[in-house]
Amino acid sequence: MIDNLAKIAINNGGFISPLIIPSKHTDGTGLCNVSLFEEENGDIIANIRHVHYTLYHSEFNQKFNCVWGCLAYLNPEDDIRLLTGNYLCKLNPNTLEVDTYQKIDTSKNDIKPIWNFHGLEDVRVFRWDNTLYTSGVRRDVKPNGEGRMELCEIEWDKKVCIEKTRDRIEVNPHTYLEKNWVPIFDMPYHFVRWSNPLEIVKINPEDKSKEKVQNGELDIISCETVIHKDNKIKLPFGLRGSSPVIPFGDDGDRMCITHETHFFHHPGLKKDAHYYHRFIIWDKDWNVKSLSKSFKFMGAMIEFCCGLLVKDDNLIMSFGYQDNAAYILKMPTSLLSELEWEDD
């Protein structure tokens, strides 16, 4: 396993930058899980998730648990909701730091939430057919917390940053929770739903319907599975979506970063988790070409990547650290060949 990808990157021609939204907007609570997209003119835009809580995570010898244990969401104690807000940002082309930011105004489509996770979580930002979209999971419209991916059209200029449309993607057969579908940047309306074995779904934006829920009405669109491989790679944990899928190289390959989660319990039954990531590369026919060994970005137990770009000869990756901090890492693409891979 690679326990510190950032160290490899910054000592071999890359760099790391913190991504910050001023605390006057956040009360200093967590910023994390940043997604990235490169516009046609070369500008890099990012979505930064603001979680409205501070994560307390005792990682080492468990000597300093807080009153709720080793892992706790420190949301306001008079308000148990876990709120997510999202900021669209333009990044400085040289430093990759936040140049400008605007909070996405979702009020046009909001209905009164009825579950404790509010907002669109782990957003990926991208353009399909020249339209700017965000996608993520929303769990606040049904009393049992059922989660569905949503595709939202965004209007964004210097004056406004608003969610114009919100389409909830229904699945058949029914499931309780759909999350971490990752958009395929060069295949409009396609998402990787599962990575191992691969399942790609195509959404049908024209197949619209309405669904009445307790506090309003949802715009629903359908989807269908268009690629389903059956060659599951034997791994200790399931591969889940992290970064979007991007074209890679000159042979029609595509690449993304996946994550996997190892849940375990400390003595006393306190639940804890390690998150790991991997690079996965598919050929043009969606056969797995390469799968890296798992890695940590900065060695923390909880890290989560939502962003990946190739720009010039570099990979640009963005990730959250313990849900409390957001970073962007630039790494020369050539370093990929020096990492450990499963098929080595």
Binding site: I10, T29, T54, H57, F60, E77, G299, N324, Y327
Partner: protein
Amino acid sequence: MNNLKRILNTYVNDPLDPYINARLGEEYEIIGQGAAALSYFLRAAELLHDKDPEFAYCCILKTWKQLNTTTRRPNFEVGQLQTAIAYLPQRPEAYLHLSIHYSNKQEWKTSYMYACLGLLYQNKRSLPYNVDYPGDYMLLFQKAFTGWYIGQREESNELWCKLSNMENIQPQHMDIIKNNVKSLENIS
């Protein structure tokens, strides 16, 4: 931001160095990013648990300080202060903050108790980072303040007078002290 980036790079090269973790936490605190600051101060505290108790204690107080600034997490705050006391009971800072916490809630007896406990541990070496401890005088201040409400008015009067003659008291506290002494003079 330049300081933050410089220390971040140092951190990436050695993420298990507790002192670098604490420096990174401090930089995040300076720019108001309390969540990130908490992450790194907590790591520092854990990594120093068996090696540098005063520094570890300071970092636990820093985790309290971040949420004290954010507000609306009172049970967490009390828990962190209790953690600090349980770990290093012979330091005064956490007693002071618990005393203030309970006086803010008008729980005078509890507040008075923590002020008295803290006063047992005066004249300690300063901690490496600011944990909002203006000095030992603040424990006397709390004792004077809360004593007034629990039937210790004579002691309270004496403490306000004593405080009014002390040096190195922050102006906003000295204003209150002098005001109280003046009120006492008017009463008598």
